[in-house]
Amino acid sequence: MNKFWPFFFMFWPFVAVVLFFIAPSMGWWFPSEAFSPLGVQIDNLFYLILVIVSVTFVGTHIGLGYALWKGVDNKAEKGWFSHGSHSLEVLWSIAPAGILMFISLYQLDVWRTYRVKSAYPKDLYGVAEVTARQFEWRIRYPAPGKKLQPTPQPDDLYTVNDLHVPVNQPVLIRLRSMDVQHSFFVPALRVKQDAVPGTVIPVWFEASKEGGFDLTCAELCGWGHYKMRGRVFAERKTEFEKYLNTLKAEQGFDGVNKPSESGAEIAKTE
């Protein structure tokens, strides 16, 4: 019976590790693989840390369990009278410090590419301005063939909760908020960035697979926080352009005249 408790404390880490091993096959894992090059790097970093952490976790628990196991059994009259060991302290300060330093330096590059403006890809395509508000995503595209402008243009195209981007192309969105703080979170692309009121934040990502991905809000924005559901569609360039043209046809239609193919003429007629 004495050995029950050491066993108990050794048992649950075992359960935890087993749970992590079976979790992917149970669907309790990433919603999908990362469909973006940067996302893949993030995942790799995650797995690297997972391995380091798991080894430490199991190792420390084996140590803890073993110490308890022996401690229960200790037939000696007194415990081991030791106030510590200088060399051990040095050892277990330097070893984790080295590992932690390695992790910190190893990841800097991903962070830099993701957030430092000067390290953004050179061929970024400014796809749209995404404005978050309670509780939806408002999206403003430039007219086909035009560049995204900081201020709204008369021929801009608008949608809600429905962001289309070309696939295999680093795209940039201008993220802003109309009211409170929100966060632009596309789990499948491993993109997350808060939309801060009063600030325009450029966010870039690249979808490497065609398809629709869920877009959610990850920063508490009020009672309807949970229902800020949007979709990001990554599609081939031709389809993306077709989509923009369809939008233009819908939104440029004033009830009498269909808009012509060129955006410039819309500006003239207005």
């Binding site: 749970l19 979790a23 007194k78 510590g84 051990l88 910190s104 993701y114 801060v196 959610t216």
Partner: protein
């Protein structure tokens, strides 16, 4: 009176040990200036608040497991008072639930149970003082808790019973600064901020008092490096509180002024929020986040360090061994405190902060894992080669170490900024901080209640009930929070009233139901603790002065200690961890007050007797 009276001419209050002047019931038990009574008052208050916070958490859990279902029992009992029509939880109410759960747990449970309850009770006893340096201030610090509780209560009722602050405990502006942004939060949010300020005032009075007491009121011979680690941790916690808290108080005043008087600090111009007129002004939302986390990150260590100290003391006594590496333990706590001041930015990696700042904070965050690791290794080293006695205290302490390892390691994922991009504001974070705050701190507190209960009331707590409580809590706890890591990996965001409207989370419902069932188990288990606490007060086994054969000064006082604590003014001759010393014959402990065998005191790492 002995020539070495510990506080001759030093204590600001006049009473000596002889001639206790008569104090009435109110003065003795209600508005008491005795640190022990104040500590026990804090303890009971926080345990009650723990139940309140737990109930709020169960509301959150219920919604996640059975969304929009009427709560059984609760909805009938309250007549749907606290929820939407038909007894189910409305999304507004859900936001209020988790906001208040966090606020109650952090500000009314964890912080006061550590600093308020154990800090008050243990500091004078462990350093051999007859009371705190400023007993009246001490009493006030307890009685400022009640207006705070009242303010939090007001925030639940001021706008009708279905309204409360709904901005999360972090209260990020603009949501929290513009009244119209969160319907129902109107005055409630302002009351909440007042409550926060009052808790701050209470903590501030406490911390200044603790620092003064620890610096100036130690018994003769109680040098800094003979202080138990509990005292070190309380001291460092008090420093953290004293220097970080004023910043939050200041920020709180600013937010109140912004909400009520039209001041502009956090809200930029031209925002269109619900039916509010467009905002004017040029405030900046990130300012609040910085000021808030400047306090609230050190606060995480305020919520952890005292438990670390207490566990060190309890563990050494239970495995009958000196603490492994006393000085490294002290230095690592100091390092945690120092680094704790410069890591707050890791809460803001996705907030749109300057990436260079993000890198700086990432490196300091990584480095704070180092002293934590050192402490873990030292605890394992303490157990190594000891004579382990598996009583409730040991179990809770080992659980503390084990849970702290999990909480600490999962923190590394978030410290790595790119990984945090994905994990930020998901359930991975929720799992992480519950492992630290509940898994580590609360298990430490459960152990500490069991350990110092005989000193508080002169009776032992029931071992049988204690073990049962531990077992159920531990299983319930891990069942609740471990799967949350997996939810987080699956991209399950925090603070969602109904995540299942998003297709990629639909399949996570069963796991959430399992979590909720475990949480209910954990909740029920806490009644055992309360019962044990109350029951042992009347029926517990009588305890002598030193039921654990421990070394600290507090064990040389009567159980429970009378007014003025020590019947014999204590003198400290050595460090607190001389268990199993070869110098002690017949016993395996050497009390700090034991003058007969005068030894060198606490050894340093490296100069141990092998």
């Amino acid at each position: 009176m002995s020539a070495v009276h510990p506080t001759v001419g030093l204590s600001d209050h006049g009473h000596g040990h002889a001639g206790h002047h008569e104090i009435g019931f109110v003065g003795k038990y209600i508005f008491s200036k005795d640190h022990k009574v104040i500590g026990i008052q804090f303890l009971i208050t926080t345990l009650l608040m723990l139940m309140v916070g737990g109930a709020l958490a169960l509301g959150v859990r219920f919604q996640l497991a059975w969304p929009w279902r009427a709560m059984p029992l609760v909805s009938q009992l309250t007549g749907g008072l606290f929820a939407a029509e038909g007894g189910q939880i409305s999304p507004e109410f859900y936001t209020m639930l988790f906001t208040m759960h966090a606020s109650v747990m952090i500000f009314l449970v964890i912080i006061p149970i550590l600093a308020g309850a154990f800090g008050n009770f243990l500091i004078p006893l462990m350093i051999g003082a007859d009371d705190m340096a400023f007993p009246t201030l001490n009493m006030l610090s307890y009685w400022f808790m009640w207006p705070a509780i009242a303010c939090f209560g007001m925030s639940f009722t001021v706008n009708g019973l279905n309204a409360a602050p709904a901005n999360g405990w972090t209260a990020y502006p603009v949501l929290s600064a513009v009244v119209q942004a969160a319907p129902g939060a109107g005055d409630a949010q302002t009351w909440w901020l007042f409550g926060l300020t009052l808790v701050g005032v209470s903590s501030m009075m406490g911390s200044v008092n603790y620092m003064t007491t620890i610096i100036n009121m130690r018994a003769p011979g109680m040098t800094l490096f003979r202080m138990p680690l509990t005292i070190w941790s309380m001291f460092i916690t008090a420093i953290l509180q004293a220097f970080a808290l004023p910043v939050l108080t200041a920020a709180g005043f600013m937010l109140v002024a912004e909400r009520t008087l039209g001041f502009k600090f956090f809200v930029p111009g031209n925002l269109l929020i619900n039916d509010a007129p467009a905002t004017v002004g040029g405030g900046q939302p990130l300012l609040w986040q910085h000021l808030f986390w400047f306090y609230s990150h050190p606060a995480v260590y305020i919520m952890l360090l005292p438990a670390m100290g207490m566990v060190s003391d309890m563990l050494a006594a239970q495995v009958r061994k000196p603490i492994f590496g006393y000085k490294p333990m002290v230095y690592s706590m100091a390092a945690i405190a120092g680094l704790g001041f410069i890591v707050w930015g890791h809460h803001m990696f996705t907030s749109g902060m300057n990436p260079a700042l993000g890198m700086t904070f990432m490196i300091s965050t990584m480095m704070i894992a180092l002293p934590s690791a050192v402490k873990v290794f030292n605890w394992i080293g303490t157990i190594w080669g000891g004579k382990v006695q598996f009583n409730t205290v040991t179990l809770n302490c080992v659980a503390f170490v084990s849970m702290f390892i999990v909480g600490g390691l999962s923190g590394i994922f978030m410290a790595a900024v790119p990984v945090d991009i994905y994990f930020h504001d998901t359930y991975f974070i929720v799992a992480h901080f519950h492992y630290v705050l509940f898994g580590a701190t609360l298990f430490g507190c459960f152990g500490a209640i069991q350990f110092w209960y005989p000193k508080m009331f002169g009776r032992m707590m029931s071992e049988r009930l204690g073990k049962l409580h531990f077992l159920l809590s531990f299983i319930g706890f891990n069942g609740t929070f471990f799967p949350m890591h997996l939810l987080g990996i699956a991209g399950f965001p925090r603070r969602y009233a109904d995540p299942y409207i998003h297709p990629y989370m639909e399949h996570l419902m069963p796991i959430n139901r399992f979590i909720t069932l475990c949480a209910i188990l954990m909740g029920i288990a806490q009644f055992i603790l309360l019962f044990n606490f109350a029951f042992s007060f009347f029926a517990g086994k009588k305890a002598g002065r030193n039921p654990w054969n421990a070394n600290g000064l507090e064990w040389s006082a009567p159980s429970p200690p009378g007014h003025g604590n020590f019947d014999v003014p204590p003198v400290c001759y050595r460090g607190p961890y001389e268990y199993s010393s070869p110098l002690s014959e017949g016993t395996d402990f050497l009390m700090q007050t034991d003058p007969l065998r005068h030894t060198g005191g606490v050894g340093n790492a490296g100069d141990g007797h092998h």
